[in-house]
Symmetry: none
Amino acid sequence: MPWELKPDRPIYTQLIEQIELMIFSGVYSLGSKLPSVRDMAQEAAVNPNTMQRALAKLEEDGLIITHRTSGRTITEDANMIEEAKTKMAERQILDFLEKMQLMGFKQKEILAIINDIAKGMKE
Amino acid sequence: MPWELKPDRPIYTQLIEQIELMIFSGVYSLGSKLPSVRDMAQEAAVNPNTMQRALAKLEEDGLIITHRTSGRTITEDANMIEEAKTKMAERQILDFLEKMQLMGFKQKEILAIINDIAKGMKE
Amino acid sequence: MPWELKPDRPIYTQLIEQIELMIFSGVYSLGSKLPSVRDMAQEAAVNPNTMQRALAKLEEDGLIITHRTSGRTITEDANMIEEAKTKMAERQILDFLEKMQLMGFKQKEILAIINDIAKGMKE
Amino acid sequence: MPWELKPDRPIYTQLIEQIELMIFSGVYSLGSKLPSVRDMAQEAAVNPNTMQRALAKLEEDGLIITHRTSGRTITEDANMIEEAKTKMAERQILDFLEKMQLMGFKQKEILAIINDIAKGMKE
DNA sequence: GTGGTCTAGACCACA
DNA sequence: GTGGTCTAGACCACG
């Protein structure tokens, strides 16, 4: 899972998204311990402050728990995670549909196209 | 066709999108002349600099042609337009599918969800 | 309204509180424009980043609205402000009562003491 | 008397508060001997260093006396204790009243609110 | 000139 | 060694 950071959006938001994805997909499992801020920052080739900002947001959202002097862990609340996942998915979909409609595509067209493309992708 | 500008994203990108949409949907037809920057800016209730910036980007992409002494026209190259539209759509879709898969959704799930949500949207 | 910053708690939280107080008490009225981040930072003798952090939190809470390139204004939503004020008051009171009880004071005692002291204060 | 430690504030300050409370309320009476640091630490399920730190602060405030070779005792000076208690209470109350007034609450309002809330709390 | 982001580097409290 | 905060200074996008 390489850290892909593009310069077109704030880095810290991309960090948030990618860490969320790692949580959703089980790379970081329920209750497991996260590396230290400094380590994660180094691995992502990012300033520790930036990584800290991302983690702070994730904690605010309840996905991560900070133990003041002994690192951070992923929440053990599966519902919390499921909720965040659903929320993220909805936002993705709505954004996508809105853009496609702005471009003049009708719903039928969108579904047809996406169907076609999806066939060609790896499972 | 009201100009809908939200304050959460750069104005000029929204202008680009909306003008593109107008081109794609034929509000501005092939080869037709665009209003002056000032007029367009005024109609959109936007700073002329901002409108200027949007138009510059559209020209860069080949959708608009600037005639130094006589304003701007939409390109007459239908292929160019179709190409721009397709290109934009493809990138949207691929980005979307990739993110959804990273989140752990299978193709069937994605299609099911998007189908559901699309039903609730305005045509 | 001098900026009183003590070294025993994070500065940015103190900035948040003091700006909230200024909003609640009308120093900054509904819809009025705030000074620039840099100006406010200078006035409070604080790094602009720190002031920015405080203002970002206030915006997150809905008390302040950021206009991307033209400064910030206080929300015009009186309810929003009233709500924040009530919330802040409740937290103050609960914190206070909890501490007093921890110290062994009964409710009657607390009320008696506070009554006495309040008499001696300026209206 | 269970040791209630929350992870949101420094452990050692919570230890201080709880030990103070035990002194104020007579659980540890004037002149009585305290358990060893290790025992207290174990009972509170806390690192001995942390307990040590809390006791050091209490000694600094004069509530506890360290006898280099024979452990610690509570001070025999009743005035000292009463003074500490009163001092702490006064500061709590004044801070509280000041903040509430800054928020624009009149004394009557404060008393009314606090009265309401106090009713809902455990004795 | 406005807000937003990022970095580098430092210091602190805590356990 | 852990997270948290702060500063200084820089750069960027925007209008």
